[in-house]
Subunit: 316 residues, 4 copies
């Protein structure tokens, strides 16, 4: 963020989960204050009301599946913008009090979705263990520390935090799974373009016809703006109104993205700009920024604008 | 389902939540066995392995937000199909042991997302109460019954089930919110068309270009098949592959839906048919089946097929 | 044309044809010099070389069918722009030397396409007359005046010009047929927008794929620019290159037309601007200017541009 | 045409023009009768009324520019279908009575458009010669033979026919120009597919909106049917109705073309099938048949139809 960097951070709690782990990858957050929130809406409200400068919340593929909540909260209320995304691997570990060994583990605390994502590993390595549902990965680790269970499925951050012993790592059935978090702040000038940026939008359309969504995508496609993610959400505001949350390639400062945004503004019932920010490259992934399609770079826009000006004044 | 109706049902547990409430709206389930599952993947596995005939799991806008999990589970593994959808209002209630009155409530058990959805009500009516996080709406009701908390935010079903007193109903901040559940079974002949059906699909495309999604939507649009919902999901199978989960108007037995499906089959890396089933009309909603656009009814398809046959044999 | 109006006109000759009749509907031409040209290319060359200020040539549905020639000439060579269109009804008449009566007519001079367009009338009224092919409607009238034939199929202008007697009027089989002429000049500032204008373009694309033309039309459609006419022409310049001649609604000074033109400039191999000019309303026709679609007026463009500027500086 | 080949041919006259030259490239026409018609409508009427079996008329880029006439005639009246196309180079020659030499040529007879197409050559080689307008290339040759002019611009066929001397060949300014003719017959089973065919259509749409044409092209594009030519024509039948004449790749017997035709039939006010026939390769051109795009061959259609059948009966 240009100007003053945020110093007061909130995040979806509790402590010692993947969200806190993601937050610590942001240098300003490492130096600033970090306060857990009980829910995504509360985290966002803290920023809206000025009690915090920025909130880190999960956006995609998360353990808790709060994607829908986050999107819904961004679509209404006072505007917030994404200034950064953080992508981290979902690397579940099995942790226990120091001294515990695998052959002694008969009970495992886990968030229900965490245990679901490690089912194959549990069947193979702890077929007889009882799985105890708890409210969060952090709570699981705490229970292991307290000794009310033999072990916990949790995030790597909790191992160091609670000085637990690591019994097994990378126990998730899908080793490539990642979780995507976004850092939200009150509206502010977007970070400078990097050449590999994402622009997030909420567009509202009046009809449930495929033609309406086709029109939205066509506004993007004619300007060479690609789609990374799309999700439709019903809106409670009015019957028959649909919201689409879109993540697109490019930055609001790019000529082609700017023209596409203007086009959406003209044809949609409403468009909410949710930020332009650098694309996060997951650890280990090959970075592959997609250049704008031929003829759609800023220079091409400048050329066509100059040509049009000549047509309007000279006729050729 | 044609033929033998299912008798053994599983559902996302625990008991006494909205999912069980939704299951009880299905007559066959009311008569059959109903077993709670610890997670969506476990519920689906029970059906895949033949231990149950059908599973009811949340699909959209749910308290627990399991949408992503359900979609991801449907996109891979042995095929399952949706044979029915159930839409019920998310009507949270505040319940307590009989004899409890509002002015005595100082602690409230609730799932974190349930309390988040009732924040405004809690601020207005119980500003000083402590909210205790629990793992499910059912667990909240049980805690109220046990007296470890003064009251619980839970589903209406739990009030009767645990003989609780209803302190307040419709306490959710968004009174129109609904949750959508789907009933899944192993592949079987689809239920007969009703004239107001939904067809669900998972389509996999190789590229992250907006053009690829435009091509998918165009296959639908040219056949007058409308889109009700869309969600993109990253797939772990291969880098650069994208999955889109689509809910469309119409039934696989309709000529226009059949032609659209064939078109998708030809242009997509893969298409998984997730079922054709009657559209559920939420209680109190006005039913408004959308007729096929002009020229796209089965009779129009029959007419154009006869015309083409004449061109091929007679030239006119 | 802003500035000095043209005074030296050329037109597709010979004299006394529909083209001269169309030219006389232009006030400046009535006052200026009017020189017939032997062919469309010669008329255009006269303007290109500065020997004339403007050329009137047929563009559509003409007796001589020179559409293709006119288009091809506009697509190559030094640029010319259309500054006006003239639409006149194709009202063929049967004319003869004064004193001639219908029952005496045994020979009729006519351009082959003129007689073709009056076939039904000739069969009904002069079934036994011999039709003599001549090179133009003007030549037919001159032959009738000279007495080498009994009568001529010609344009109304020739009756007065040669003091012929009108034996029958409106003898064309299609009474609604019109011919469209365009007035061409060297590039100059376009005439001011009237709110009911046409913009003509030649766009060149590299491939013979339907996708390439779809891309061109999509650039127009997303800006609400409608298509009035389209014609593809092979280009001799290079194998595999295609030219499309498009007439669109709107004026180059309109925001939406300007943005569409820029879009075409970016995606096409080449775009040639052929002028923006008032739409001609055929005599007797109901004028029905098409307003820009909702959200696509200049004011909407200004609103969306202001919104984008705010997003770029303030983030909301 | 399968079955009995045509034996009675008509063609756009007069004799000794490019049209007759094109007709003689058809073996059946070489053996059958060949009758010149005075106009395209007359040629077509002869076939419609059974006086002839087939008519050869110019379709594109012709000297006389009759394209519009031919298209308009095909769009109305009793249906006719194209069974063959013939493409020949427009190789104008300068011919004269034997014994004439270039330095003696002071007058040249030519159709006005023929002389227009040879302007550069005439300026370079006969700058002082007078050009005499005549009604056809055939008439020019006859005038040269009769000696009323010194030389004629005409088609190669006229040189042999009238035993003229060839003073210069390939005198057209654009040496690559070709003319395209079509052979028309009453509706009959189309010729068998060759793998490199054209299907011609007239589609009528009710509105002048670009969206209507986009819808037409989209029906083709989603089936991988490419567009070779397009021309819009106003229709006299009803105000606001537009006709588009389309030439597409593929044969009506191809699965993808058949499905596209059915789609057009359903969305257009009317569709007239104008024939499927082998693509003519101009002499000297490299033949480059375009295979159907990936996934759109007949085998892909068969695969997707079988898949759909399984979905409908088994649900997977």
């Amino acid at each position: 963020m240009p100007g003053v960097p945020p110093t007061r951070f909130v995040y979806l709690g509790p402590e010692s989960t993947f969200t806190e782990q993601a937050l610590l990858t942001i240098p300003a957050a490492e130096r600033g204050t970090r306060t857990p929130s009980r829910s995504v809406p509360e985290a966002l409200d803290a920023v809206r009301q000025g009690e915090a400068d920025a909130a880190l919340v999960p956006m995609e593929n998360s353990v808790g599946g709060q994607v829908g909540v986050t999107l819904d909260e961004l679509g209404v209320g006072d505007p917030l913008v994404i200034t950064r995304e953080v992508v981290i691997p979902v690397e579940f570990v099995l942790a226990a009090r120091p001294g515990t060994t695998m052959d002694r583990v008969t009970s495992v605390a886990a968030h229900p979705q965490a245990s679901a994502q490690c089912r194959a590993w549990l069947r193979a390595h702890l077929p007889d263990a009882t799985v105890i549902d708890v409210l969060s990965n952090g709570a699981a680790a705490q229970d292991a520390l307290a000794g009310t269970v033999d072990a916990a499925i949790c995030a790597p951050i909790a191992v160091d935090r609670f000085r637990l012993a690591l019994l097994a790592d990378k126990i998730a059935d899908h080793p490539d799974a990642v979780t995507r978090f976004v850092l939200l702040s009150r509206p502010a000038p977007p970070p400078a373009p990097t050449g590999d940026d994402i622009t997030s939008l909420a567009v509202f359309i009046a009809h449930d016809r495929v033609g309406a969504l086709l029109a939205v995508l066509t506004e993007l496609a004619v300007r060479g703006v690609n789609l990374i993610r799309i999700e439709s959400r019903p809106t409670g505001e009015a019957l028959g109104r649909y919201a689409f949350f879109l993540d697109c390639t490019g930055h609001v400062a790019d000529a082609r993205v700017g023209e596409a945004l203007q086009g959406l503004r003209r044809i949609c019932a409403a468009v909410r700009f949710l930020g332009s920010y650098p694309r996060a490259v997951p650890p280990g992934a090959v970075d592959r920024p997609v250049p704008p399609p031929g003829g759609l770079a800023d220079a091409d826009y400048a050329d066509s604008a100059a040509w049009l000006a000549r047509l309007r004044t000279d006729g050729a």
